[in-house]
Symmetry: none
Subunit: 223 residues, 2 copies
DNA sequence: GCGATCGCTTAAGGGCATCTTAAGGAGGGG
DNA sequence: CCCCTCCTTAAGATGCCCTTAAGCGATCGC
């Protein structure tokens, strides 16, 4: 199972660069530009967080501090501040590593790898949506505590929606990314999988139809 | 339980300083000036190794490389070399962190702390999964107390799954990491090993098939 | 309200991933 | 040089589940 990494970086250029390198290195990467997007419900599923503290100063550290009240996810801090005091402050707030800008992408990758090499923390926390629990690493799902057997496509489909909670995902995107992209007539196939998925998640009306667009997963709840 | 830290540093001034700060921070510290002193028998008992690569160049990296053949102890590397290539090389050889000289002792302390915050790793204790007991160090396995003879590949395969308990591990990853990575048609080979492994672990249905993905070891002691 | 479009459900068929068994061959120890 | 262990390869059997098709139901534009 590939590790999922969340990158919080408001600089477009740097963000693009980081994400590109991480993907090249084989990591599944999600890039957000605002620290506010680190919500309790959004973090589960990620193995590591790359957090740029930005320049405004305290802002980034506040995010980190708050984050540590509800999550133990490993955090690699990026910052332009090179002073010892700044680093110490970040570490004391729970940072796992601290990299000063500018840096070489190769070093970032290796530091991420070094952090993930340790098996104990490798697994992201399971995602939760109402009565649904989704463990991306184990590829296991359960509804209200009861395990639910999902096929490969069913799981991938659910995971794809789960990673873009509240967002309407187009049929085309799902067909291209979850199903075999080579196939043509995958439109109807998708219906079938969604149908079966809904039946298996009986009782939980999580997958909403967005008419003429695709589907949307009802928002996750912060455990 | 205070953590014990081994420091390899040949510079007297710097060594004194490091040890002083570590002790001040509450760590039990042992200081050696020669890397040769990192013997397989000496390492157990230490939670972390601070390793100065010194200037002579390759010497320190060789120590690290050799070390990794028999120990998984976390290693924080100190070095005067600041280039990206040097850092990447160290990480690839298994370093967990890399600090360039000169540095502030506070940062070293915090990096050591950040590293030790994470759950203590396997300290030689055997892993347990249901009736299976797996000693990675001794390469011994037993089922319900009875020793089971595993071949090299079988043990590595089981160990690979065990170190990622509960996680769905892809066939490709297993083929690349457990079997000879150069080979091409290793897909079928994997089946055979899994099959034999299951037979030897008779009674314990530990290795689950994740259809279309790979395999998963049923969780015994998760995270 | 009506037709057209889009989505849902059920059922059936077959492709293909996986399992098992058997035999070939490489490497190490005696 | 022979034997033994064990990794690999091959081939056939098994059955999972992806896809396709077809009819019904829902929704939208007018």
């Amino acid at each position: 199972m590939t590790d999922r990494i969340l990158v919080i970086e408001d600089d477009q250029r740097l963000g693009t660069q980081i994400v590109e390198h991480l993907r090249e290195a084989g990591f599944e990467t999600l890039w957000r530009t605002a620290g506010e997007l680190i919500l309790p419900g959004a973090l589960p599923g990620f193995s590591l967080l790359v957090l740029d503290l930005m320049l405004p100063g305290k802002h980034g550290l506040d995010i980190l501090k708050h984050l540590r009240t509800y999550s133990q996810v490993p955090v690699l801090v990026l910052s332009a501040r090179t002073s010892s005091a700044d680093k110490v402050r970040a570490f004391k707030l729970g940072a796992d590593d601290y990299l000063t800008k500018p840096f070489w992408p190769e070093e970032l990758i290796e530091r991420v790898r070094a952090r993930l090499r340790r098996p104990a923390m490798q697994r992201g926390e399971p995602l939760r949506f109402g009565g649904l629990e989704l463990d991306l690493g184990a590829r296991l799902a359960s509804v209200r505590g009861k395990p639910v057997e999902l096929t490969r496509v069913e799981f991938d489909l659910l995971a794809a929606l789960a990673q873009r909670t509240g967002e309407a995902v187009t049929r085309k995107w799902l067909a291209d990314n979850v199903l075999d992209p080579d196939k043509e007539g995958t439109e109807r196939t998708l219906d079938v999988h969604v149908s079966r998925l809904r039946k298996k998640l009986e009782g939980e009306e999580l997958i909403e139809t967005v008419w003429g667009i695709g589907y949307r997963l009802r928002g996750g709840s912060p455990r």
